[in-house]
């Protein structure tokens, strides 16, 4: 009576039932002895420091975006490589197939690299660090006065 989607529904129901059963069994069997270490947030064994809601530098996202872009490009290169390297297709077309496939991929990669070049020239890839500000006041006491005082008191000792 059920269609193919019925099996998926069955799968979902069974999955929920099994996981629920395991969790409930755990709840019944396990001893409940909380202490401070157990209740802290897990942070790879380190003591958690500060608030979890910290603001990240927006530049992380720019770099992540460029990274994802080229990750996806790589993903496309794999299926392309299998088709590109097929000897029978190349033989059938007298070698033109290889050049065609290569050209197509070069256009694709070329457009993506143009995008990277654009981001680069625009300076989106520079990681601007906060520059320490130099104090901006003029000293009224001349520098040689310090030297004179130093000399005066060092010779009289």
């Amino acid at each position: 009576m059920y269609s193919d989607f019925g099996q998926i529904l069955l799968f979902i129901i069974v999955a929920i039932a099994i996981i629920g059963a395991i969790l409930i069994a755990n709840k019944i069997i396990r001893p409940n002895l909380p202490n401070e270490e157990k209740l802290t947030t897990y942070e790879s064994g380190e003591d958690p420091v500060g608030n979890a809601n910290v603001q990240f530098n927006a530049r992380f996202y720019v770099v992540a975006l460029v990274f994802v872009l080229f990750e996806v490009e790589l993903l496309f290169l794999f299926p392309w490589a299998t088709v590109f390297g097929r000897p029978e297709l190349i033989a059938q077309t007298n070698g033109r197939w290889g050049w065609f496939a290569l050209g197509e991929m070069l256009i694709f990669v070329g457009i993506l690299s143009l995008g990277l070049a654009y981001a680069w020239v625009k300076g989106y890839l520079d990681w601007i660090r906060p520059e320490p500000k130099k104090p901006d006041y003029a000293l009224k006491i001349p520098k040689d006065l310090y030297q004179k005082i130093n000399q005066k008191y060092s010779t009289h000792r």
Binding site: I111, L114, Y118, V121
Partner: protein, 460 residues
Amino acid sequence: MLPIVLLSVFGIVVLFLGFSKSKNILLPATLLFLLVTLIANFVDWNHQYLYFNDMLWGNNASMVFSGIVLLSAFFVVALTRGFEQEGEAAQPAEYYGIMLFSLVGAIMMISYENLIILFVGVEILSVSIYILTGSDKRNLRSNEAALKYFLMGAFATGIMLFGMALMYGATGSFVISDISEIIGTRAWNEQSQLLYAGLLMLLVGLLFKVSAAPFHFWTPDVYDGAPTIFTAYMSTIVKTAGFAALYRLLAGSLASLQDYWFATLATITVLTLLAGNVTAVYQTSFKRMLAYSSISHAGYLLIALTSLTAKSQSSILFYSLAYSLSTVSAFGVLILVSQQQASNNYDAFNGLAKKNPFLAFVLAVSMLSLAGIPLTAGFMGKLFVFTDAAQKGTIWLLVVAILASAIGIYYYFRVLIAAYFKEGDLATIRIAPFYKVVLIIVTTLTIVLGLFPDLVLQLV
């Protein structure tokens, strides 16, 4: 296919032209690129074509639709004046680049054969418009508009994608001619329920993009918040492309189900006409009024779509051309006036005719055309649309539409009364020669098309 490739390449070129020292090259270059694309658009004239593994389809009508989109883009770009007024923070190269890229999406929406291309086109167009809406980065209202548009648009796109998936589930194909064939083999009450659910969701997604009620709530805020030039851009391009896509979907694959979707679409049409026109009356800002007017024009276009007679396509085509032309000139005048007065309200136009008779005349023609007064393109557009409804025999729809356009006359004439009959201290506004030429061309086209509509109609 040629315009899509050209626009993509030109977009990248414009982006990189932005690095050159002379900023003055960008505007002429973009205009030249658009002109080249406009010519290349008609290369396949009198041929039907299928490109990209039968995913893109085109004939004369879709080429004319693309032509309208490219032409309005040309006019809007010509009105940008190189973004010199926007100050240091403006990025003209990026704006022009994004505009060119967005046209790729618009052309895909016009000439899709495969629903996936429709989705890709909608996304390319929408994402570009989100960015352009928020391009005034220092302005909070622009930011708010962009975020609002982005979040709602993302939801609408999601719903549209659901619809496509369900239609695929019902028919086993994304190709609209195949879908039409499969639907044609069954009577309307024997169709899979999935098909109806999918059709409804697909319609919701597309109707959101053309701002039909009840999916219009984003329109006033987004149109008001976006920089005026981009408001002009999206109100012309998105509307034309959206209606071309809707027509292609309904006529190309679902025409045999008209009995089914007629009631839904007719209800939406009436809602859109009422919501757009009645709310526009209460606006004090001219820009916001134009936003509601764009909703009401979506309503008129929906009449032609709902009727779906043999003439519907040419009616939609002519109406969107007339609407685009008059909208471009209305926004062109608004940009100049609002710069002088630092306000978008009706009051800003007080006494415009005294020292700026040219601008007042351009405004008058565009308002008359939007209101649908004879001798303008808007009148002929409305006439064709109403004729479609009469042919289909839906007189009640016609009555609502005529009442709505009567309301329209009231709010379109408010700005004309301000410009011609009210006292104001508006100084003479200096118009760059090129800007003036564009306004003259657009106004002349509006009048010429009102007198000789066959110039465009014989193309299709």
